[in-house]
């Protein structure tokens, strides 16, 4: 499951250098840490689009004892719920317009994760000093020439493979001409006539959040993927002055062009989000939409559903959508505008339109008559790009596990909830899930190393525990106002290493927790101590020296406590027998009482609960009790 880093691949494939990591420098942390931007963003972005209600309790660690519902059933339930929810919401209505069919095609521009520009050895950068990474060719210095940087191919091909494209053995570069101040040469080098990847597809599932009308899944064709240059960045200054930062000029982009096969606004938004996720999973893309690394243009047209000719309507293009939300909103607004226009007897002009975040209408940027003839011409300085089969093959086999496959495995094999699984995959640019695998592997080996336990425990039972801790307990660390030492954020390397909470410590801690050698409370305190760097000799030593071992009371004592807690609660206990719904709250009250009566630090809440439940069943019966145990 581990992902090979792009840099490592690149130096192996292009320069024949083998990675040093893994043998000599075995456990050295990779120097490149993943930027922490996604730690908050994607979940928010996802949440916005999730149509199902969000139960506030999902975050608490109840998973281990939750009975397992088959994934498909669960998804169906969710879809049903979404449908119900969708009908209530205004936005749900906006997915369709009676009597009309919407058709959308999308062009997505993504910045490739590579260290040099497409045609010059200048470094790619994000927020560096303006105009500090500029080669002669980047500013079109007379007499300078393009030098193709083959490193860009690795992330580009990986992206195309993730989108199931056919990699073309020969592709070419063309010049696309138009005058604009952010483009020094007067043309952009792109791949118009012969792109490097064609005929791909992407499948969107109900769980991705597509429009309910699209059912369980929908597959959208990818027409082509092409390599091209970015333009310079315009920095607006006060008083209608603009500055130009040429650091971005010539940075490698891929443009992904879908077939016009999308018919619902939300599905379009989900497509963009999923492509973003795919690109980040295969490590092709440097940053997400919100940081400007990804931009989308959408082509929108409508036609009457009863139109016998089935010809697509005139399309308009909405340029430069920079958030996933904007994609959906802009498509809805543009569709409604076109329908209104047509219903009023008007016609749609093929034109380019713009969208401002938060607005309700698209606005006209330029019409067909103002449209530029790009005069595409093969670049005479650039040789055809020949991509060997061996390279494609190698990249295909080393391709990171794609999100859908990984999600399925996390849910089916490891027993995580789809929501937790998705969060794991999305967080920290995919580094969090790598961390999960690392911790899990160590935890597993500790569990298997126990000589006195013959049967190895079920994977799901400890994997969900690890998942919960890695998502929720780790997440809690940074929200604690834990004192001056709290650094504020966790950072992970791309390989999933975390210096703040080393996997060795966390797995040790989880091992003892799983085996009930320590209580959850103790485990949380230990985790905080690890995070703050307060443990000198490791987790085990800390437990030993502070005698934090959980000395659990005997089953006999549990039963005595259950009986004691039930005393004087006859009225309440009656409810267990009669209730249509199991009075879980009341059960928890009784368990709480057990904990108070006994030596709290020696009681395992789960065992206490189980004992209480059995006690009630034995003494008062009840239809639900039997099933739950």
């Amino acid at each position: 499951m581990s992902r090979r880093s792009l840099g490592e691949l690149s130096s192996y494939l292009l320069e024949g250098r083998l990675s040093q990591r893994g043998c000599i420098n075995g456990r050295r942390l990779s120097s490149r840490t993943v930027p922490v931007w996604p730690s908050l963003r994607p979940p928010n972005a996802l949440r916005r689009l999730h149509t199902q209600p969000e139960p506030a309790t999902t975050a608490t660690a109840t998973a281990p004892q939750a009975s397992h519902v088959p994934l498909r059933k669960q998804l169906k339930e969710q879809a049903k719920q979404a449908k119900k929810q969708g009908k209530k919401k205004a936005k749900g209505d906006s997915q369709t317009a009676d009597g009309w069919e919407l058709t959308v095609g999308i062009e997505i521009h993504a910045q490739l994760n590579t260290s040099r520009k497409l045609f010059s050895p200048a470094a790619t950068s994000f927020n560096d000093e303006p105009n500090s990474h500029v080669a002669l060719f980047d500013v079109a210095m007379p007499g300078s020439q393009p030098l193709f940087q083959k490193e860009a191919l690795i992330p580009a091909i990986r992206a195309a493979l993730a989108l199931n494209c056919e990699i073309q053995p020969v592709s070419r570069f063309d010049r696309k001409h138009y005058f604009w101040w952010d483009q020094p040469s007067g043309y952009q080098i792109t791949q118009f006539y012969e792109p490097f990847a064609k005929r791909g597809h992407i499948t969107l599932l109900a769980r991705d959040g597509i429009a309910v009308e699209d059912g369980e899944s929908v597959t959208i064709g990818i027409k082509q993927v092409q390599l091209e240059q970015d333009t310079a960045k315009t920095l607006a200054q006060a008083g209608s002055v603009h500055w130009l930062d040429f650091n971005r000029v010539g940075v490698p982009l891929i443009e992904i062009i879908t077939e016009p096969e999308i018919h619902h606004p939300r599905t379009a938004a989900v497509l963009v989000r999923k492509i973003q996720l795919l690109l980040s999973t295969v490590d092709s893309c440097v940053s997400g939409m919100e940081t400007g690394g990804l931009r989308a243009d959408v082509n929108v047209s409508v036609r009457r559903t009863d139109d016998p000719s089935k010809k697509l309507g005139t399309r308009t293009e909405i340029k430069n959508l920079s958030t996933i939300r904007a994609v959906e909103d802009a498509i809805i607004a543009e569709r409604d505008r076109q329908i209104q226009q047509l219903e009023a007897g008007g016609v749609i002009a093929g034109e380019t339109r713009g969208w401002t975040v938060g607005s309700k209408e698209t606005r006209r940027l330029r019409g067909k008559e103002g449209e530029v003839d790009y005069r595409y011409m093969p670049d005479p300085d650039l040789a055809p790009l020949v991509i060997g089969k061996d390279l494609v093959q190698h990249l295909q086999t080393s391709l990171a596990v794609l999100p859908d496959t990984e999600l399925d495995k996390l849910v089916d094999h490891y027993g995580l909830t789809p929501k937790d699984a998705l969060s794991l995959i999305t967080l920290d640019n995919g580094a969090r899930v790598q961390y999960f695998y690392r911790v899990l592997a160590l935890l597993e080996s500790k569990l298997q190393a126990e000589p006195d336990i013959a049967e190895s425990p079920e994977v799901k039972s400890y994997a969900t525990l690890a998942g919960n801790w890695i998502l929720h307990e780790l997440g809690r660390l940074t929200t604690y106002k834990a004192g001056p030492l709290a650094s504020g954020d966790l950072s992970f390397t791309q390989l999933g290493e975390c210096a703040q909470v080393p996997e060795e410590d966390l797995s040790q801690l989880l091992y003892h927790l799983y085996r009930k050698h320590i209580t959850g409370k103790v485990a949380k305190e230990l985790l905080m101590a690890v995070y703050l760097g307060e443990l000198e000799g490791g987790v085990l030593e800390a437990i030993e020296s502070n005698d934090l071992w959980f000395k659990e009371i005997s089953q006999h004592e549990y039963e005595a406590l259950a009986a004691a807690a039930a005393e004087g609660e006859d009225k309440m206990l009656e409810e267990f027998a009669d209730a249509d719904r199991y009075p879980r709250g009341k059960l928890m009250y009784l368990v709480g009482k057990m904990m108070r009566l006994g030596p709290t630090e020696r009681i395992d809440p789960a065992t206490a609960e189980k004992t209480m439940k059995l006690w009630i069943e034995r003494h008062h019966g009840g239809p639900e009790a039997a099933r739950l145990v």
Partner: protein, 508 residues
């Protein structure tokens, strides 16, 4: 908005346009005052980088450099208003290579703006004049490397660098009576050559004899040097492979077959130039060479194809001169029609450059692309095949090709059952006429002027090496005829040897 754009320019300019700080004085007045107008008067600059390390075999010589090749010591202006005093932050590879071999750059030479022209008249500095002309007469020095040719012809430089896109080195060499050599495409680095039409542009050398050129290119190993900065510079491996495909030595003339391309015998050919051509062929024949007529049937389309392809590339290459980084912005905003650049480009470019930009813009437009640009590319292929068919040597860039007799014209004479005769070299005039008077050129339409390139353009389209050498039949003639020898790709060394032989043979 426009005002903002004007200001925006300042940011980028301060970083790259540093010529004012680098100025270290005017050039000697002698040159700018010369009536021949072959050097460009410019302010000498403080070089940014140290001079190249001299090679052990360096021998000092004076080098004139065409003004579309970047130099650190002089501005690079391409005879254009739009690049006025442009101080290049880097020096062309070829200049550095020659400096390492002992060259001292004596100045930048006048030319047709961005290399577009055949008489070195389309220049912001005014026309170059031919030193062979009678006193008081203004005669074309040829173009576009006219200044470089004159610098060599009058002895201001031992060797000059020019660029040859469709004949721009060979034609001025022919007009001024010197040697002009256009190497195989991809042999000499174009890094630092301001492009006119990248797929055709080659750096060329001019000298009074073949020998200095041959020595520089071959004895000092220039032809072996790959330039990583030029993506069209052949790799070392390809160079070695190409070199193995042909012999470095010219055999005795008796073992050579020289082709006379019949399509080059055009009606417009000046009779005395035809006479020089015949005389040269006869002289070679009398020395034992076999001289045979050959047919290159696509020749008549070559000029049309050239004048589609070169302007198309030019219109693209010159898009960068928009006033944001290069060129002076006018005071008028271009707010009308929301175009930002038309004023700069209108004022900065000369008439011929504008004409070719318009031509190229049209032929690349979506409505004309298929009928012009694509067709011209196909013709280019045909022309290359024509050459490959007549040369004995295979083109080392391709797998050996089989030519079907049915593809050849029916009147092609067959040599034997193997097919028509194949040749080592082609011999033709360089230009159809002697250099015209400047006053006559002005009377001609631009298409008539383009006609002048008809004999040089085919080798450019095919990327083949060619050399123009002066031949005077009657020593009392005012102008020599320029005769062109064309060879198979990478057969440059033997080409120069034959050029040298022709020159010596005809001088005797």
């Amino acid at each position: 908005m426009t005002a903002a754009l004007v200001r925006r320019r300042a940011l980028t300019q301060t970083r790259w346009n540093v010529n004012h700080n680098r100025s270290i004085g005017r050039l000697p007045l002698r040159r700018s005052q010369s009536t021949l107008n072959h050097f460009v008067a410019s302010t000498k600059l403080q070089p940014i980088s140290p001079p190249p390390q001299p090679r052990p075999d360096a021998r000092p010589f004076r080098l004139a450099v065409k003004d579309n090749i970047t130099t650190e010591e002089f501005p690079t202006q391409c005879a254009s208003g739009i690049l006025g005093q442009h101080a290049s932050p880097f020096e062309a590879t070829i200049v550095r290579q020659l400096r390492a071999r002992g060259a001292s750059v004596v100045g930048k030479t006048n030319m047709d703006e961005f290399g577009m022209g055949s008489h070195s008249t389309h220049s912001i500095h005014g026309p170059v004049r031919n030193p062979l002309a009678a006193t008081g007469e203004d005669v074309s020095a040829g173009g576009s490397s006219g200044g470089s040719a004159v610098a060599v012809a009058v002895g201001d430089a031992d060797v000059a660098l020019g660029t040859d896109t469709g004949g721009s080195v060979r034609l001025p060499a022919a007009y001024t009576g010197i040697v002009g050599y256009k190497p195989s495409y991809g042999m000499l680095s174009r890094f630092g050559v301001v492009p006119y039409a990248n797929s055709l542009d080659t750096v060329g050398l001019l000298a009074r004899d073949v020998e200095p050129i041959r020595k520089l290119v071959f004895d000092t190993g220039l032809y072996e040097e790959h330039d990583p900065n030029d993506p069209t510079s052949l790799s070392v491996e390809t160079r070695q492979r190409c070199s193995k495909a042909s012999s470095p030595y010219l055999p005795d003339l008796s073992q050579l077959t020289i082709g006379i391309p019949v399509e080059y015998n055009i009606a417009e050919l000046d009779p005395s130039i035809r006479e020089a051509w015949v005389a040269t062929a006869s002289a070679l024949e009398s020395q034992g060479a076999r001289v045979v007529p050959v047919s290159l049937p696509s020749t008549k389309e070559a000029l049309c194809a050239y004048y589609i392809l070169a302007p198309a590339e030019a219109s693209s290459n010159l898009a960068k001169y928009d006033g944001v980084r290069y060129g002076i912005r006018g005071s008028e905003g271009d707010a009308a029609g929301e175009t930002l650049y038309s004023e700069t480009r209108g004022a900065g470019f000369g008439a011929e450059v504008k004409r070719r930009i318009l031509l190229g813009t049209y032929s690349l437009s979506s409505e004309a692309m298929d009928n012009y640009f694509i067709q011209a590319q196909k013709i280019r292929r045909l022309i290359q095949r024509d050459f490959d068919r007549v040369f004995k040597l295979d083109n080392p860039l391709y797998e050996p090709r089989q030519f079907d007799l049915s593809e050849m014209s029916s009147d092609t004479a067959l040599e034997d059952k193997q097919g028509p005769v194949q040749v080592d070299f082609l011999l033709s005039p360089t230009a159809p006429t002697y250099p015209p008077k400047l006053s006559d050129i002005q009377k001609r339409s631009s298409v008539d002027v383009y006609m002048n390139d008809v004999l040089t353009v085919p080798a450019s389209l095919a990327g083949l090496p060619a050399v123009s050498v002066p031949v005077k039949i009657d020593q009392s003639d005012q102008f020599p005829a320029g005769l062109q020898v064309i060879a198979q790709y990478w057969d440059d060394r033997r080409l120069l040897a034959l050029g040298d032989k022709v020159m010596k043979l005809m001088a005797a």
